[in-house]
């Protein structure tokens, strides 16, 4: 069939209107609805946490503290968020350090232990809350050195510490814990406790003390091995064990480390990947050996009357290639919409010489070279344990190692 020529006398617009599909009111509504939906979907974006200019590394004298602390008058209450086990505890479950702090300063402490890993805590209870400009409810929290603290500083979510109120910090704190590379000048952080990521085990079941990450891969411990779930403490020791330099590691090396762990997982050797709850699995006998944070095992293995007794045979070892050092840092989250949180906290003091002679619980390092066992000891005026020599540090933050003194009050 041949196409009929169009009569030039007919208006083409009219012709189109007569022959083509019309744009009905329903179509218009439909397209408008689709457009509005797309616009609505696009409007649901989430604004970012643009890095704020923070006075990192600034001289304390250059910081206007009144901006953060107002008149500096204590608010009377300190909301302290910590990791479980990382404080002294008596047989009644009380915390003598906090009681002493309240006695000396008149500031009551609301103490909570909701943190059992950095990222899940920060990403659920801190960052989204501060991003929304709201109040976290915490005046003081304890975050591990390195990535997590660095991220909070970068995001502008910490407020600077007024060092003029930290009356004896500069004089008494271990020099190794000062001036970390992620917080030059300790503008935002002061160490609360330090330790290392090593290999914890229950000597009731594990008779041959572990010496390396490789012990966690042994088929002899099939189904009884715990490993960390976080993105720092699982891969770094594996890379270290394989002889790779973490700071210069390549994606291929990370893949090799992942393959190593995956292979052990496929063989059923690894029971699960844990946060701090691994210590309770060690206590229950569900796992016998695990990646561990030294402080957890120290306290779990300590006598009952000082808050321990969970894992009587608990031990923690430094891997032969060196430990991954960690320091739990005191930081102040930004107050968000709660300016009353700006006050106080600065009553925390470091005991002179880092030692306490009040007979309370101390955790000290048994003197010795790398790889030697670390045991908790009740304080009898023993003071700080000796520092191990020649231990590598995690990413260069430079915390001291082996100090487990409770550095609050004193």
């Amino acid at each position: 069939m041949t196409e009929q020529p169009i009569d030039p006398s007919v208006d083409p617009a009219l012709l189109r209107g007569l022959t083509q599909r019309r744009f009905s009111r329903r179509d218009m509504l439909r397209y408008a609805g689709a457009g509005a939906s797309a616009a609505f979907l696009a409007a649901c974006g989430v604004s970012g946490t643009a890095p704020k200019k923070s006075p990192s590394g600034a001289s304390p004298s250059a910081i206007d503290y009144s901006k953060y602390y107002g008149d500096g008058k204590p608010a009377g209450i300190l909301n302290f968020e910590n990791w479980e086990l990382y404080i002294d505890e008596d047989a009644k479950g009380k915390h003598p350090s906090l009681q002493q702090f309240t006695k000396e300063t008149g500031i009551k402490v609301h103490y909570r232990t909701d943190i059992n890993d950095n990222d899940p805590f920060l990403n659920s209870k801190v960052i989204p809350v501060l991003q929304a400009g709201q109040d976290t409810g915490f005046d003081l929290m304890v975050i591990t050195n390195g990535g997590p603290v660095e991220k909070l500083i970068r995001l502008g979510y910490l407020i600077p510490l007024d060092h003029s109120r930290l009356t004896n910090w500069a004089a008494n704190v271990d020099p190794k814990t000062k001036n970390p590379n992620y917080d030059p000048g300790n503008v935002y952080t002061v160490p609360w406790q330090s330790g290392f990521t090593g290999i914890g085990y229950n000597s009731k079941y594990v008779k041959e003390p572990p010496t390396s990450f490789g012990d966690l891969l042994k088929p002899a411990y099939k189904g009884k091995v715990g490993m960390f779930a976080n993105v720092y403490d699982l891969p770094c020791p594996a890379l270290n064990y394989m002889g790779f330099d973490i700071d210069k590691s390549t994606p291929d090396q990370w893949k090799q480390a992942a393959d190593l762990v995956t292979k052990a997982d496929a063989q059923g050797i690894i029971r699960a990947f844990y946060d701090q709850n691994y210590i309770y699995k060690l206590e229950a006998g569900d796992i016998h050996i695990s990646q561990a944070w030294s402080g957890d095992v120290y306290i779990a293995a300590a006598p009952k009357d000082v808050g321990g007794g969970r894992v009587p045979g608990g031990e923690v070892r430094v891997p032969e290639r060196g430990p991954d050092l960690l320091a739990r840092q005191h930081v102040h989250p930004h107050p968000g919409t709660a300016p009353q949180r700006r006050h106080h906290v600065h009553g925390l003091r470091v005991p002179a010489g880092g030692r306490r002679d009040d007979g309370r619980f101390h955790l000290v390092r048994v003197p010795g070279a790398r790889g030697q066992g670390l045991r908790p000891e009740p304080a009898q005026g023993s003071g700080r344990g000796q520092q191990p020599s020649g231990l590598p540090e995690r990413g260069g933050p430079g915390p001291g190692e082996g100090i487990q003194d409770l550095q609050v009050a004193g």
């Binding site: 609505f40 979907l41 974006g45 989430v46 970012g48 990403n123 659920s124 229950a284 006998g285």
Partner: protein, 300 residues
């Protein structure tokens, strides 16, 4: 005169009554509609939008129609998705098998103590979901009250464990969602007209025939509701897998939680949530078509 006044009153009242009658259904659905809009439609739209965005928490997320997130998460987490449906199905099957005789016994043999038995069934569920699951962790511990005793008696090998296995996770889910199956079953069994059962017996039906051809078909609405109420939350559950499970029992709920709260990959988490919801909805519609929309008579 009186009649005229009455007529006027009727004339005045009629349009109002008509208006009220017309508005009544809308007013009645308003609370439910608002509830759905605020707590379902808006979050769903937000989730859909989030799943199509790109970015990160520091720079923010922007809507870019990034559909490939769906393929990425499906490629990476299809094992966990399939595992969730497998665990959910098995757990739902277990709750049905356990709940049915229980609900039947309470409904037909409970007598005047029915309420007491129902209360006993529900009593553990007054305790928090997490606490109940943690209790199972304690009970099933490798050296705990059960396995420790059996190991001491040399009835099972020392290396034997239940925790961190699929069995522990599926059992935990089945235990935790048991009332969601038992209660609808009980209600449907309780509603069965006893004279129908008597009639079946009068017609020389055996006990098993009465059960298979009268009672079970009449309780199908309860089975339908129970399966829905159990299966949907069971598939999305993450508490049991995180407390009772191990490295090879991770469910899609755990992945979503991890993407949201640990990795801060909101688009990936939203895409996974959307995939889970879509697959569940398709399954539910298919299931409803097969079972739920029939009238009771069709089963008899």
């Amino acid at each position: 005169m009186e009649g005229r006044v009455g007529a006027r009153v009727q004339l005045v009242g009629k349009p109002r009554a008509r208006l009220g009658k017309r508005l009544a259904p809308y007013l009645l659905t308003l609370p439910g509609g608002l509830w759905l809009a605020i707590f379902f439609v808006i979050p769903i739209v937000f989730m859909l939008s989030m799943s199509l965005q790109t970015g990160n928490i520091e720079e923010g997320f922007r809507f870019t129609w990034h559909f490939s997130t769906y393929w990425e998460v499906l490629r990476q987490y299809h094992t966990q998705l399939a595992r969730s449906f497998t665990f959910g199905s098995i757990a739902t099957g277990i709750t049905l098998v356990v709940s049915y005789p229980l609900a039947y016994w309470i409904a037909f043999r409970g007598g005047r103590h029915k309420t007491t038995f129902l209360f006993m069934l529900l009593l553990p569920f007054f305790v928090s979901f997490v606490i109940r699951t943690l209790a199972w962790q304690f009970i099933l511990a490798d050296d705990g009250i059960v396995l420790g005793t059996l190991k001491n008696l040399h009835l099972i090998p020392q290396s034997y464990h239940v925790l961190a296995t699929s069995v522990a996770v599926v059992s935990g889910i089945a235990y935790n969602y048991l009332p969601f199956m038992a209660l609808p079953l009980y209600v449907s069994l309780e509603k069965i007209d006893r004279s129908v059962v008597e009639a079946a017996r009068d017609l020389y039906a055996s006990n098993s025939q009465v059960l298979a051809r009268v009672i079970f078909p009449l309780s199908i609405p309860g089975v339908f509701a129970g399966v829905l109420l159990t299966f949907v939350p069971a598939v999305g559950d993450y508490v049991n897998a995180s407390i009772l499970g191990g490295t090879r029992t991770t469910m899609i709920g755990n992945i979503i939680q991890q993407e949201y709260l640990t990795n801060l990959h909101y688009p990936r988490a939203a895409a996974l949530s959307f995939v889970l919801m879509t697959v569940l909805l398709i399954g539910i519609f298919a299931y409803a078509r097969a079972l739920g929309t029939r009238s009771i008579e069709e089963y008899i």
